[in-house]
Amino acid sequence: MNSNVIIGIVLIISGISVFAVSQILLRRWMKKYNNEWMEGAEKK
């Protein structure tokens, strides 16, 4: 297995990981944002 294949595998795993982690964090943020907004956090 040459270095390009190894780099490719690492990149794919990284891409999937970045997506998964970002989705988890963004969902948590969105839930918090929704709650704050419903409590009038956006009220001017």
Binding site: I6, G8, W37, E39, K43, K44
Partner: protein
């Protein structure tokens, strides 16, 4: 008037009066079977058209929503008709407004969304249900903090009756219809679900500004005039809901709900969220795509490197004349990974080299097969020539003649045809004719290395068949001058041994040895080559070369157990007194005994006699 404690229809117990609606008093009661509090509300002064009413109530009974009180039934009593509805505990919005409550935007948005949901439910029902009397007094805030929309006035679609008109919250078209009815005119403006939208907007206008809107004083001052502290988006939603013309309002409760949901998307934090979402998704896609490209590139690189290595190895085997040429060539051609790398020219080159190997080895059938496949990838004069040569050597003269016809038509000026004619003459035993054709063709092929080489080889073979060794050797030497190959060295070596033996020319054995020595050093020795090498060394009495020959013979025993090899090895071993003679002799005999009668016929009688004599000398017994 219903008295406290009165039981109606054996089901409903009147507890007390709790308020009044458009048609009269509203009572709190108790459902004796369901064991829960209910509300009895008068909806008709008379029992006329009770069947029509039954249909209407049945429709209301079919409505089930968490923000609607459940309608259970209707009942007639004392000439009046009452509906039986869930009792909802809590205060209505009118109470809160009058008490001076100021709500947060979050609370308003929550209730607005719930009201939009329940209106969407009603308006989507079949038949469509319009509330027609949305106002703060008809919106209860339950103990759980959610809304409950009560008090359906005229609720069914296509009904233009206006009962209990709320001047402040009714839509312009509702108010217009009321005015028409009052004046005995027929109303022309249909009332649809957008009337509820207006009423909802007016209700929230009142909640936000603490000012009651009035249809007779339209348009009301904009919400923004009141410094309420509520967001521009919420103000705009309420203003739009209260548009005079239905076409200018939200066209459905669902549309209004979406507008409320979209409010949060106006916030900078939400925009930031969307941007981060986009960037992380883009980054993920880029990483994955880059990964796939790297892997693809890596795999291709590996395959390309493997192909280059295999091809180089094959080329090396070809230059050595190795016996592995056929196997290696097929391995490259049959490897599916190399499909994109080996083009037609390369495939033809490989097949031609494999064909050459089989031709030199005397396997003309396989030579012809490979040459034929070669032509499938690339047509050339040279490839055609070799294919026809192989056919001729394989005694497939008719096929050869057909292919000669093809060559004549494809390459009319080709000098190859006379060579093929000469080869055909040779194969049919007309050696002198073969020689004369070659002599006539030689001037035409001079300058063409391949064809000149072939011409001299045919000439040499023909002279050899005519037992004219001098001329055969001369022709083979001329071929060798054009191109040195293991095949021509073999032919030369064999012819020199033959010449030496026939004409008693000792120096020819030395010349023969030199030929096989060159094959040994530069190319690849087959079994016959090794035997000829050793025999020519012994016949030439090249004692200094005996150890070299033994080394080559011993290497050959590792590849193949050939009786002849052990016989020669025995003789050389005896000549060099290396104490291995007895072992070689025993092996020779063992292998000889395993040969068939026909195979034994190929063993040189001279070698056999010498070996038998040594066997008797070393092993002390006769070799029968």
């Amino acid at each position: 008037m219903l008295n406290n404690g009165l039981i109606i229809d054996n089901l409903y117990c009147i507890i007390r009066e709790i308020g009044s609606g458009g048609m009269g008093v509203v009572y709190l009661g108790y459902h004796l079977r369901l064991n829960k509090y209910i509300v009895l509300k008068k909806i008709k002064d008379s029992e006329q058209n009770i069947n029509l009413l039954r249909n209407e109530v049945d429709t209301l009974k079919g409505l089930h929503h968490s923000y609607l009180p459940q309608v259970y039934d209707f009942v007639s009593y004392g000439g009046n008709v009452y509906t039986i509805i869930d009792y909802i505990e809590g205060f209505d919005l009118k109470y809160y407004i009058n008490s001076g409550f100021q709500f947060t935007e979050g609370q308003l948005i929550k209730w607005l969304k719930q009201l939009c949901e329940v209106l969407d439910y009603l308006h989507s029902h079949n038949p469509q249900v319009l509330h027609s009397d949305i106002k703060p007094a008809n919106i209860i805030i339950t103990n759980s903090g959610d809304i409950c929309l009560i008090d359906f006035g005229v609720s069914l679609y296509n009904s233009n009756e206006v009962i209990g008109l709320s001047r402040n919250y009714s839509s312009p078209e509702q108010f217009y219809n009321y005015e028409c009815l009052k004046n005995g005119m027929v109303s022309e403006i249909p009332v649809d679900s957008r009337t509820d939208i207006y009423s909802l907007g007016a209700t929230f206008y009142h909640i936000m500004t603490h000012q009651m809107p009035s249809i007779t004083n339209y348009p009301p001052p904009p919400v923004s005039n009141f410094n309420t502290g509520y967001s521009k988006q919420l103000q705009n939603i309420v203003q739009k809901a209260m548009a005079y013309r239905p076409a200018d309002r939200f066209q459905s409760a669902r549309q209004m709900l979406k507008a409320v949901d979209d409010m949060k998307k106006a916030g900078s934090r939400y925009k930031g969220y969307v941007l981060v979402q986009l960037l992380t998704s883009l980054l993920s896609v880029i990483l994955v795509v880059a990964g796939i490209m790297f892997i693809s590139n890596g795999v291709n690189k590996d395959i390309s490197s493997a192909f280059q290595a295999d091809y180089s190895q094959f080329a090396g085997l070809v230059s050595q004349g190795s016996s592995e040429i056929g196997e290696k060539g097929r391995e490259i051609l049959n490897n599916p990974d190399y499909n994109g790398l080996a083009d037609n020219d390369t495939r033809a080159e490989i097949l031609h080299a494999v064909g050459d190997y089989y031709f030199d080895a005397g396997d003309y059938y396989n030579a012809a097969y490979n040459y034929s496949e070669c032509l499938g990838y690339k047509k050339s004069e040279l490839y055609y020539r070799d294919y026809v040569m192989a056919l001729i050597m394989d005694h497939r003269i008719d096929e050869a003649k057909t292919e000669i016809g093809v060559i004549q038509s494809e390459y009319p000026q080709s000098p190859v045809v006379p060579l093929l004619d000469a080869e055909t003459a040779y194969m049919t035993g007309d050696y002198e004719k073969a020689v004369s054709i070659i002599d006539a063709a030689l001037p035409a092929v001079s300058g063409d290395t391949e064809n000149t080489y072939t011409a001299y080889v045919i000439k040499g073979k023909s002279y050899s068949a005519l037992d004219q060794s001098d001329k055969a050797i001369e022709a083979f030497e001329a071929a060798k001058q054009q191109k040195e190959t293991p095949s021509i060295l073999r032919s030369l070596g064999d012819e020199r041994i033959k010449n030496a033996s026939k004409n008693n020319l000792q120096f020819e054995y030395k010349n023969a040895f030199d030929c096989f020595y060159t094959i040994s050093e530069k190319y690849f020795l087959n079994t016959d080559d090794v035997i000829n090498l050793a025999q020519s060394a012994m016949l030439a009495q090249e004692i200094s070369q005996y150890d070299y020959c033994k080394k080559k013979l011993i290497e050959e025993t590792g590849k193949k157990e050939d009786c002849r090899v052990y016989m020669i090895l025995s003789i050389l071993s005896d000549a060099t007194a290396d104490n291995q003679t007895e072992a070689y002799l025993k092996k020779s005999r063992e292998l000889y005994e395993s040969l068939s009668y026909e195979e034994k016929g190929y063993i040189s009688s001279e070698s056999l006699e010498k070996t038998k004599a040594l066997y008797k000398q070393y092993c002390g017994q006769e070799w029968q």
